[in-house]
Subunit: 334 residues, 2 copies
């Protein structure tokens, strides 16, 4: 299984670390996805992982020459769509950074390309919602699946990051896409994954105030989702985590169900239900990473937890949430 | 200082416990606020506190005879407005359960009565937002006041209760008013208190599904507030806390500011800012109770943290949040 990478701006490391441990796959080539995209950091990481990779100046030329089985799409966020389409048109499987597209028009084009390619052969595409595979989120999810909190009724999900100094492409809506699709998309994915229900509407807000000269970058965001069966959910996102915090991010989810409450916080999972008096901390599941799961699907071994349809759907919900925030209006989701 | 109580359905205990420790005030009389309101539990509590009280069958007759300085309004939630108006018309200070009114028309009548009464003498009114005075909320608030997190940008507040078996008047929107004004009102009050800014809009949802035969009672609610200066805030409320939880309620707030993050959770306060590496747990302030604060204002000693204008304002925001949820629409707040 040959794998190429385009770009160095996302979480390609999901793939790099999985391939390093996988005997039946190898990194073949890498190229920038757009002019000015610096590959140095990623090349160093690949080198440190003990792998070698061929560097190309033009990613299409790389695809012509190497014709990989899988393309990891990992460039500036506004470039993911066109690079994914290029790969799909060539019948390659696509492992793509979220958001798949930074606007609804581009998303529709990727969907079309995927459908067209799927008519010729079985094609797999997954967006990099890798946080699902952390032991804490996976453990919480499995308990919810097992009915440990009954029916999910209310959810709160959080993404909080340190800002630090971001690369220039974060400062421009055109290249960055916005904090809702870039950061909150994970939390939106969790809501859908945990509840197993579709969204029916979104109302969102965001603000770029106090962004320390980061241009268009929104520092805070709040999203209010209604879902099927009168499930309600909120996502709060911010870049306000102080530099003195001991970790980069503070990912959380709290789910209140008809028979219990489960929570992920500080990489731990807490449950209250009728099984036990008081709150219990759950033992964490061992998990495989997202790219290993994707590889197993491509090899026909087992289905990946994140499929193309869900990847497109979450991207669409994120872009509509951003639209709600931009236009300050309630948006109905179908 | 003579104090009477009308009704036995709210948190009159704030007053009863404060008066028990106060040499210059005494409980004078109590009466039901509406037919069928049972005083037994509250009378037992008064007795246990070592105080005596005269019981009346008609609260207006009680007011005629005892003419108290302060009336504690503590009846069915739809009765608080008319009882408050009766007291205000008689020039009495009013300590009233939240929400002050269960609809905007009644709220306007209380406001009018307060303004009319205030023209004749100085009148104090406060709504029972007593959770402000817990050591954990007060400690967090004082740190925010001291600038420990810079400017507040994003807030999440939570109220989660055990449902248990509620009295019949909870099962009827007419007498109960709704879970947003009854339970979430505290959290809405915190947002206003911590941010020190007005609300500019609300979008809310609630659901009575899975309410274990509690009629109209909403089991879950979610509110999305915009505030001045692009501050965003969410409140989640539920009655889904399992019976096995070790406490009745799970009150929380998290505030992300330009210079730090502060959180109240499990009756503790956590802060991350530049003062220290990592998260610190704050030492809790000693606090006086809400009714002691109210008594001190009535006596001219110091202003109460909760004044009439804020009590009316929060009630109005709560009722408009409920309206947003009932009608599924974004409501602009002035």
């Amino acid at each position: 299984m040959d794998i190429c990478i385009v770009g160095a701006s996302g979480h390609a490391n999901y793939a790099i670390s999985a391939i390093a441990k996988d005997e039946n796959s190898k990194l073949a080539g890498i190229a920038a996805g757009t002019e000015g995209e610096n590959l140095d950091g990623l090349l160093k990481r690949i080198n440190n992982s003990g792998q070698k990779i061929e560097v190309f100046h033009d990613y299409k030329e790389m695809l012509d020459i190497l014709n990989p089985d899988i393309l990891v799409v990992n460039s500036y966020f506004n470039k993911q769509a066109e690079i994914s389409i290029e790969a799909l048109n060539r019948g390659m499987h696509v492992f793509v950074e979220k958001p798949i597209a930074t606007n609804l028009e581009d998303l529709a084009l990727v969907r079309d390309a995927y459908q067209k390619a799927s008519k010729k052969k079985e094609i797999f595409l997954a967006s990099m919602f890798g946080i699902r595979y952390t032991p804490w989120f996976m453990t919480a999810w499995k308990h919810v699946q097992q009915g440990k909190i009954g029916k999910v009724r209310l959810m709160n999900a959080q993404k909080s990051y340190r800002l630090g100094q971001r690369a220039d492409f974060y400062k421009n809506r055109e290249t960055y896409g916005g904090t809702i699709p870039w950061v909150a998309s994970h939390a939106i994915d969790w809501l859908y994954w945990f509840a197993g229900e579709k969204f029916t509407s979104v109302y969102a807000s965001h603000s770029k105030q106090y962004n320390s000269e980061h241009g268009d970058l929104e520092m805070t965001g709040m999203m209010h989702f209604n879902m099927e069966n009168e499930i309600v959910a909120a996502v709060n996102v911010d870049y306000l985590r102080p530099g003195t915090a001991l970790s980069h991010g503070d990912d959380r989810i709290r789910l209140a169900g008809t028979d219990g409450v489960v929570e992920v916080r500080d990489d731990k999972v807490y449950l209250i239900n009728s099984d036990k008096e008081g709150m219990q901390e759950l033992e964490l599941e061992e998990t495989k990473g997202i790219f290993t799961d994707f590889l197993e699907e491509v090899r026909g071994e087992s289905p990946c937890l994140i499929n193309a349809e869900d990847s497109f759907y979450i991207t669409e919900v994120c872009l509509k949430a951003r639209k709600s925030a931009d236009e300050n209006k309630l948006i109905v989701l179908e």
